[in-house]
């Protein structure tokens, strides 16, 4: 299965600042997906990112708050902007599904906003 390297693994950020999370895939993927997992909760899809086009955001998530870049088929970044304590969550990325393995996820970024 594909391997997705995600960094940082964790960070503590001040209110009002931003954090950029990176995901690097060891193979080319058409789509990358960004999820948020709030404490003790399930995963919620933030947006889907294709190379060369603007990301598609799910209801409740906007580009100004969660800008995404997708410069090539192996890399993507998610920025969480103007941080507030409510943004404290784990953020995960994923790539295209593989037939026998399904979707591979990055190792996650645990964000704490103070």
């Amino acid at each position: 299965s594909a391997v997705i390297s995600q960094k940082p693994s964790r960070d503590i950020c001040q209110r009002g600042t931003s954090l950029t999370i990176q995901c690097q895939v060891d193979s080319q993927v058409t789509m990358m997906f960004w999820y948020r997992q709030q404490p003790g909760q399930s995963l919620t899809l933030i947006a889907t990112a294709n190379q060369g086009s603007e990301a598609t955001y799910e209801s409740g998530f906007v580009i100004d708050k969660f800008p995404i870049s997708r410069p090539n088929l192996t890399f993507s970044t998610l920025t969480v902007s103007n941080l507030s304590p409510e943004d404290s969550s784990i953020y995960l990325c994923s790539g295209d599904p593989e037939p026998s393995y399904g979707y591979t996820f990055g190792s996650g970024t645990r964000l704490t906003v103070v």
Partner: protein
């Protein structure tokens, strides 16, 4: 809008016992995935179920999919402490472009 419901949300069981986790979903799909998440960790793929009647087994875990009933089950046989984790099902909706919708998760604790 696709909804995915898991139950139970929390399960405490003794080692050696059997139990089943249920995953119901609200629209047509024949692609369902089960994941395991340990505390502070990412998601580990357990099973990929891609057709009606699919059954997969790995060790003490067995997953099945009934697309007509829109139901998947994850059966645990003779539980051991190492199975303690949170288990998620996730459904890929037909014609929705590889989007996954996750169930709420089942937090499993297996007691010695």
């Amino acid at each position: 809008e696709l909804k995915v419901e898991q139950n139970p949300l929390f399960l405490s069981m003794q080692e050696g016992k059997n139990y089943t986790i249920y995953c119901n979903y609200s629209t047509t799909s024949d692609r369902l995935y089960w994941y395991r998440q340990d505390p502070g960790k990412s998601l580990e793929s357990l099973f990929v179920l891609l057709s009606n009647g699919a059954v997969k087994q790995e060790g003490r875990l067995m997953a099945s999919l009934d697309t007509k009933a829109r139901l998947s089950t994850l059966h645990i046989t003779a539980a051991v402490h190492d199975l303690s984790a949170t288990y998620f099902c996730a459904v890929e909706e037909d014609n929705a472009g590889n989007m996954l919708t996750f169930g709420g998760g089942t937090r499993l604790m297996v007691k010695p």
